[in-house]
């Protein structure tokens, strides 16, 4: 049969269109959506934030207390890799000169200079990590939490380069053998090759509970609540005392306040 190349291509294109039409119609026609309701007992907010009053921790807490770290890392099955190179930490402690670099004058009272401050993800409003993530594996939720989707993360670590607070950790190796705390069977572990950080205990918030670290602190040094609700714990804590945020000049609008 005499047929030119152009005719062949035209017929081939029409066939492909015809064969694909049914599938496309199917895809557009599908309207079944899983039905869901919101959890009625969950805590909601417009902007979750935290205020940390280290004075309460230093004055009332036992020396070397790390209850908040233990609670967080146990609740979320955070491993203890054992090397500083690959350590994974969602909440940890550091000295004033590291928490507020560039702020220290050397004239601060000794307690402030030497005693530990707690650090965690600041859940910034203008989070640079969210801006740079190429797959939206880290994203801002409507309630202000900077959330991690471990299923989508490709492990490029751009978010780690973008975070001005050093809040993110990467799983260089399989974390499971290194979970030294008692395994929490209601929360998954992570897999090798993804980045993780504090998630403001969003799975607890949805069940009506406050974050593990806040609950664990016996001195009530950690206040948590809705920054846009004038009656919340965090607003009341901030209203009466001076507070600082880390690196405010970067415009990230962090949600963790330090009461000095």
């Amino acid at each position: 049969m005499e047929t030119g190349r152009r005719t062949f291509l035209k017929i081939g294109g029409a066939c492909a269109l015809g064969l694909g039409a049914l599938r496309m119609a199917d895809a557009f026609g599908k309207t079944e959506e899983p039905k869901f309701v919101l959890n009625v007992q969950g805590l909601t907010a417009k902007r979750w934030a935290m205020a940390i009053d280290m004075k309460k921790c230093w004055e009332k807490g036992p020396q070397g207390c790390t209850e908040c770290i233990l609670a967080c890392h146990t609740t979320h099955n955070v491993p203890d890799i054992g090397t500083r190179k690959e350590e994974i930490k969602w909440i940890w402690e550091a000295k004033y000169e590291n928490v507020f670099p560039g702020q220290q004058s050397g004239m601060e009272p000794e307690a402030i200079r030497e005693k530990p401050f707690m650090l965690l993800c600041n859940h910034c409003t203008n989070a640079p990590c969210v801006r740079v993530c190429p797959t939206q594996a880290t994203f801002k939720r409507a309630d202000g939490i900077t959330m991690m989707d471990f299923h989508r993360c490709i492990g490029c670590r751009y978010c780690m380069a973008g975070c001005p607070y050093g809040a993110r950790s990467f799983n260089f190796r399989d974390p499971r053998p290194y979970i030294k705390t008692e395994l929490n069977p209601t929360f998954p572990t992570r897999d090798r090759g993804v980045v993780e950080k504090c998630n403001f205990c969003e799975e607890r918030l949805t069940a009506g509970k406050i974050p593990a670290c806040v609950e664990a602190c016996k001195c009530k040094a950690l206040s948590f609540g809705d920054l846009e609700d004038p009656n919340s714990d965090v607003r009341r804590a901030l209203a009466s005392q001076f507070s600082l945020r880390r690196k405010p000049e970067l415009g990230t609008e962090p949600g963790v306040y330090y009461i000095i």
């Binding site: 899983p34 919101l38 959890n39 499971r176 572990t189």
Partner: protein
């Protein structure tokens, strides 16, 4: 008729046929038994109306899609409660809801997954992160079946992720 390089051609052909039919002759006589997922867990035994989130046939074909949809809803949209067609609400969680009833992963999920040759560390790799419920020691069969057959995934060339650390 002269076949040039006949020696090499025939040797190559024999090697190719052997390799191409490898799955047939290597596992000859070792047909794995049909999978029998068991639902005799304590929680299911107590249930009067043994009903899952979806009807059984739908679950068999749709459970992966359901889990994917749940994953998006929970992680990305923050929605956790699912309303089934019979009005019952479930928490959308593999670890905390599905496995509450089906706490015998090795006798349930693994039965079909192993039979289908889905490698433990590749597809589905949910369990790399999501913690499988602990099963009593004697019930756990492990990988070797009673008739001595071995699931196909043991013959993978690349052992996949995390084998070293397990």
């Amino acid at each position: 008729m002269k076949i040039y390089d006949g020696k090499y051609i025939f040797i190559g052909l024999i090697i190719f046929v052997a390799l191409a039919t490898f799955p047939v002759w290597f596992t000859h006589g070792r047909a794995a038994p049909a999978p029998e997922p068991k639902i005799d867990t304590p929680v299911i035994a107590k249930m009067l109306n043994k009903q899952c989130v979806l009807p059984k046939d739908e679950m068999i074909t749709e459970h992966m899609k359901l889990l994917n949809d749940w994953r998006t809803l929970v992680v990305r949209d923050g929605k956790r409660m699912y309303v089934a067609s019979d009005g019952k609400t479930y928490e959308m969680s593999l670890q905390n809801e599905c496995m509450k009833c089906h706490s015998n992963k090795s006798q349930f999920c693994d039965q079909c997954h192993n039979y289908a040759g889905l490698q433990k560390d590749a597809d589905p790799y949910c369990w790399n992160c999501h913690i499988a419920p602990k099963e009593p020691e004697n019930k756990q069969q492990g990988e070797w079946r009673e008739n001595g057959s071995v699931p196909a995934h043991h013959f993978s060339l690349f052992s996949g992720f995390g084998k070293e650390s397990r």
